[in-house]
Amino acid sequence: MSGAGPATRGTTGFRLRRHGPLATGLTLILLLAGVALVSLVWTPFPPSKMQIMQKLKPPFEVGLLGTDQYGRDVLSMLMAGAWNSLSIALFAVALGAGIGVVIGLAVAAWRGVLETVTMRGCDVIFAVPPILSAMMLGAFIGPGRWTAIFAIATFMVPVFTRITVGAARQIWTRDFILAARAAGKGPLLISWQHVLPNIVGPIIVQVTIQLGLAILTEAGLSFLGLGLPPPAPSWGRMLAESQTFLRAAPWLAVLPGLAVALSVLGFNLIGDGLRDRLDPRQRGRA
């Protein structure tokens, strides 16, 4: 974590501050990934199996975490939801980071008009609040897995572009790049061989942080009905549906939110821990 000054180096407190978050984050995410994978082969009940007569039973009465308005097992739905949430976030970030980094490398290598156009493009995307664009995108192609992935990735592209440009530009001013140029290497080869390996740290940090953000955004989209269609369980839709049953079945509103929060927390903690290791310039920054 931030703020671990030289004075505390070596003390137990320091070690906890330094390693605690990363370890906690890793534990949370491994747990999440584990649950998500297990849900593919086993859940206590089939997650979309309805038992209308058992509807809205509180935790421990039916199943471990109770049932929803159709009598479906909440634990099973949360488990299957973990897979959906995680897979959408991974896809979206992979897409966004992939495109963003490539554009960013190109901009840093060629600059000129490309840079102006790209940076203006980023401005345009940033100017429209993500949720509004996602709503329009949802209306465009209809709600579903790919809507969520595209909507989230659209916002990741400029984020990764900017970060890559910033980091890559600094690398381009270094001596070893001049040497490579003198050796006759073209911008494509230099970007691949010399620039990318040197900026991979900040990008990985950003990937973990954006994974958390993607899970958060996916929940928001599903909450508005723009995520995965039923019967695929989704944490955001579970939250949206819980609203009507807030008084009768509060656990339906609490549990999926907790799942979202813990997953995001996990990614953020990993991101912080990695930042301290991989991106020393940013150490101590928020």
């Binding site: 309805m50 009905g225 269609p229």
Partner: protein, 503 residues
């Protein structure tokens, strides 16, 4: 000291008692005259003659606007701006005697020429009336004298009187018609005051209301638009809203049980929830497949799962509060074994897979989810594709007719004729059915029409062009002291002229 304290407390007690008495007598002497009524959906404009959403009529029909004739709470046609009428024996000429002394809220007098202008506006070439088809058979409209209106038809239209009672057929003033969308002006018992967009519409009593037979008790009416069911419930409990005639969340109805102030009223509507199929697309072009799917569905489970057990199963596109209703739920009752057998007979022993385009409204989404589970039991895989209603649904399903199955509540009363319309999204063709519907229009007397309506219902029940599921209930929640609200809903509306507080 003690005596002093006691005397003070005695004074206090008696003062409080007097105050309470005063308050109760005051309350008893003057019942409330204001009403806050809740609605789920905000209307899109306030002119029912230029846009379709039922919310428009639910605010304005019979409150601000009136028609030549009207529909009462039992669904019967009653005179309104026309005091009486004669129909020629060939069913082609309608002669209406109009009331005198009726004025619009802006002072314009209601005469036969205003009525003629209003009907002509609805059927003009550039008309945007959502039910322009009602006037398709009209040949000419004449104002014979200020108190007599004559409508001549090209061919008989047995439902014309009924159609004239609809919100889309109300009589509008010549001067005010253009602005009715934002500032509606009619002849009704209430005058438009204010519309705070996204929140409320306010009306006040029309002191010059023509109909002296009705004594309008309410002075002010506020329509509040609250979409979220939890917020609807909170508004009712806190007293911000006195009545929610169409409460949005069946699952919350039981939370009002035993409430001292509020009561729940479950009535009938015209909202038929049906899962329409594309009858020209495989495998739905096979009658046996449609019948099998019908038998795979347990309507009771669907109603329980989708609408907390409120609702009436139907076997055809007709509701129990329509005249000439026949209960046809027994034609294809729930029987998964038979369903499987019939599917095998039709060539699908292992079932098949299809997509349902389901709108996002909770009744549709939930019904689709329950259907999905029930169909899985007979080996049929139904994939749910959430389809934004109305925009995308209208484009894909209604206009484009590019779908396998869909689900929607048909709100228009007595609209069984949609299965004979061409084009219509079911892509259903049945000459026998078309004949039955045509005969309804050619029969001027109600008893004669009923026979054909029954025949039409039976054809649909056997042919299953759509999976007939249930009629949505009218879930009313309102203050116990409030009287006069309609319990059933023969047409989507909130008629407030005869609503009053008992205390």
């Amino acid at each position: 000291m003690a005596r002093f304290v006691r005397s003070i407390s005695e004074v206090l007690v008696s003062a409080t008692a007097i105050l309470c008495l005063l308050l109760t007598t005051m309350a008893a002497a003057a019942p409330r005259t204001d009403l806050a009524i809740g609605m789920t959906i905000e209307p899109a404009g306030l002119d029912p003659t230029i846009a379709a959403p039922v919310a428009i009529g639910q605010v304005t029909w019979q409150n601000i606007f009136e028609g030549l004739v009207t529909i009462d709470r039992d669904g019967k046609i009653k005179p309104q701006l026309a005091s009486s009428w004669e129909i020629s024996p060939d069913g082609l000429t309608y002669r209406f005697s109009l009331r005198s002394g009726v004025t619009f809220h802006d002072g314009e007098a209601f005469t036969a020429s205003v009525a003629k202008a209003s009907i002509d506006r609805a059927r003009a070439a550039d008309s945007v009336n959502p039910q322009k088809r009602f006037f398709a058979s009209v040949d000419t409209v004449e104002a014979e004298d200020p108190q007599t209106l004559v409508i001549r038809l090209k061919q008989p239209a047995g439902s014309l009187l009924y159609w004239l009672a609809w919100p889309s057929s109300v009589i509008v003033g010549e001067k005010s018609a253009a602005n009715n969308k934002t500032t509606p002006v009619g002849t009704g018992p209430f005058v438009f005051v204010r519309w705070a967009k996204g929140d409320r519409v306010e009306l006040k009593r029309n002191p010059g209301y023509w109909n002296r037979e009705i004594s309008v008790k309410l002075e002010t009416v506020t329509f509040r638009f609250i979409g979220d069911p939890q917020a609807q419930s909170a508004a009712l409990v806190s007293g911000d809203v006195d009545a929610f005639p169409e409460f949005g969340a069946p699952e919350l109805m039981s939370s009002f049980d035993g409430d001292e102030r509020l009561m729940t009223v479950v009535g009938d509507t015209e909202l038929k929830v049906v899962a329409g199929m594309n009858n020209s697309r495989k495998p739905f072009d096979d009658k046996r497949v449609r019948q099998a799917l019908m038998m795979a569905l347990d309507r009771t489970t669907i109603i329980e799962g989708a609408w907390s057990g409120f609702g009436t199963p139907i076997g055809s596109h007709y509701t129990p509060n329509d005249r000439a209703y026949v209960d046809l739920t027994g034609v294809y009752p729930y029987d998964p074994e038979k369903a499987r057998a019939l599917l095998a007979e039709a060539g699908y022993p292992n079932g098949f897979s299809f997509t349902i385009k389901a709108p996002q409204m909770s009744y549709a989404a939930r019904t689709a989810e329950v259907m999905q589970a029930l169909l899985a039991e007979v080996g049929v895989t139904m994939i749910i594709e959430p389809t934004e209603f109305p925009a995308k649904w209208v484009q894909d399903v209604f206009t484009g007719r590019d779908y396998d199955m869909t689900i929607v509540a048909h709100a228009e009363p007595m609209d069984i004729d949609i299965y004979s319309r061409d084009p219509y999204y079911f892509n259903y063709r049945n000459p026998a059915f078309d004949t039955a519907i045509r005969q309804v229009e050619q029969t001027p007397d109600a008893a004669g029409q009923d026979k054909f309506y029954q025949e039409a219902q039976k054809i649909l029940a056997d042919d299953v062009p759509a999976l007939f599921l249930f009629v949505m209930p009218k879930l009313g929640v309102w203050d116990k002291r409030l009287k006069g609200l309609w319990e059933d809903e023969p047409i989507p509306s909130n008629v407030l002229a005869e609503v009053y507080w008992t205390e």
